[in-house]
């Protein structure tokens, strides 16, 4: 996924495989392995694919930044409806309450 995010253009399976092999970790991934992973990412709507001749070329369906923003937005959403998916450590509070909490901590 990081390879796709770092690339400026849609990549083919072969190109992704080359990039993964070239990252210096000494991995030698099979073409079919890379293809399977890309296929799964497609099923999870993380990548889009387009036909290019006989092969598919893959692009991330959202940028790294927008994916991070989606996660953080969901986490910060205080509406209570969407949050059932997450269990928070502490929700944000308004400034007056935050000040009261700080005072309480100082007294401990």
């Amino acid at each position: 996924m990081n390879v796709l995010w770092d690339a400026d253009e849609p990549l083919s399976v072969r190109e992704v495989q080359d990039a993964l092999d070239a990252d210096g970790s000494g991995r030698d991934l099979a073409y079919t392995t890379v293809m399977t992973v890309l296929d799964r990412l497609g099923a999870k709507h993380m990548v889009d694919r387009e036909r290019d001749g006989r092969a598919f070329r893959y692009t991330p369906s959202q940028t790294r930044e927008s994916a991070a923003a989606e996660l953080i937005d969901a986490a910060l959403d205080a509406s209570g409806d969407r949050t059932s998916a997450l269990v928070h450590f502490a929700r944000s509070v308004d400034p007056a309450e935050a000040a009261a909490l700080r005072r309480a901590l100082d007294e401990m």
């Binding site: 996924m1 996660l71 450590f89 502490a90 509070v93 308004d94 935050a98 901590l105």
Partner: protein
């Protein structure tokens, strides 16, 4: 009489009783017993409502001298019972699917975006993911097998080592005790009731109580002071996305950390309420009615 008494109990346990208890703060003194109390109230309400529906149906088919107004009342009662049942199972289906889909999506995103951090995680359990983002946020995505605890790099910066340990322990407690299932149960129930018969008290109070339970786990590992520091650091450092009144979970949790006496009388009261609401209607109404029903059905 049984249908109406059960119906009344069902309505009382659905709305006025929880609304009244929701205003009390003694249940927070004993969160585990408090959660049991809310669950018993919910179960008793469901049982009473179902009992009302069943006994109404029996009355309708077995009454020798049905006057129109009594029939109308019974049909109404039956309809409310059936409606709540249908809505309950519909809610179970939709809420379950929706949360599941959302959690999966979140987990895929988290796994792609965040590198697994071996050095911060110090033991086996839910996988820890550190998200590169300046907002200090910590949460967990509970699941049967693929749980994730997520903290942002911003959160790690805001917290001392002890505070971070408290946060992680707190989230692990949520995951391992499956607090999400407890809350989901109350969400199903809330969705089952029509708006006029609904109260948010059980869900709201239980939300805070699972936090208190997870706090207890965190305190044992990291200590009161570290946990309090973590609550203040994470609750007080963000711009709120919505307005939350004073009296939110953070304040209750802080108050409990400063005065952590265990409320044995609160636990006792909560257990007593649980037993009363479950046993009394069963013994005095449902039991005799079942014998009556057997007699009637045998002819």
């Amino acid at each position: 009489m049984t249908p109406f008494l059960l119906g009344l109990i069902g309505i009382a346990l659905s709305l006025p009783v929880p609304a009244l208890l929701g205003r009390a703060d003694w249940p927070y003194r004993s969160p585990a017993a408090g959660i049991v109390m809310w669950q018993s109230l919910a179960l008793a309400a469901i049982l009473a409502t179902s009992g009302a529906g069943l006994s109404t149906a029996l009355w309708l088919v077995s009454e020798d001298d049905p006057q129109p107004w009594r029939v109308a009342l019974h049909v109404l009662l039956l309809l409310v019972g059936v409606l709540i049942w249908a809505r309950f199972w519909w809610a179970v289906w939709t809420v379950w699917r929706r949360t599941g889909a959302r959690r999966r999506r979140q987990r895929h995103l988290v796994d792609l975006l965040a590198e697994p951090e071996g050095d911060v995680s110090d033991r086996v359990g839910p996988a820890l993911r550190v998200l590169q983002h300046e907002s200090p946020v910590a949460y967990c995505l509970p699941d049967r097998t693929k749980s994730r605890v997520v903290v942002t790099s911003g959160a790690i910066e805001h917290l001392s080592a002890d505070e971070l340990r408290a946060v992680l322990e707190h989230e692990r407690a949520h995951v391992s005790a499956r607090h999400d299932l407890v809350l989901e149960g109350f969400e199903f129930l809330r969705a089952a009731y029509p708006r006029v018969l609904r109260t948010d008290a059980p869900l709201e109070q239980s939300r805070v109580m699972v936090e208190l339970l997870a706090d207890d786990a965190a305190r044992r590992v990291a200590g009161d002071r570290a946990l309090a520091g973590a609550i203040v650091a994470l609750a007080g450092s963000q711009t709120p996305a919505g307005t939350l009144g004073v009296g939110s979970a953070a304040t209750i949790r802080m108050a409990r950390l400063r005065d952590p006496r265990s409320g044995w009388w609160a636990a006792g009261l909560a257990w007593a309420i649980s037993v009363v609401v479950l046993v009394v209607p069963t013994v005095f109404l449902a039991g005799p009615w079942i014998f009556h029903a057997i007699d009637v059905l045998r002819g």
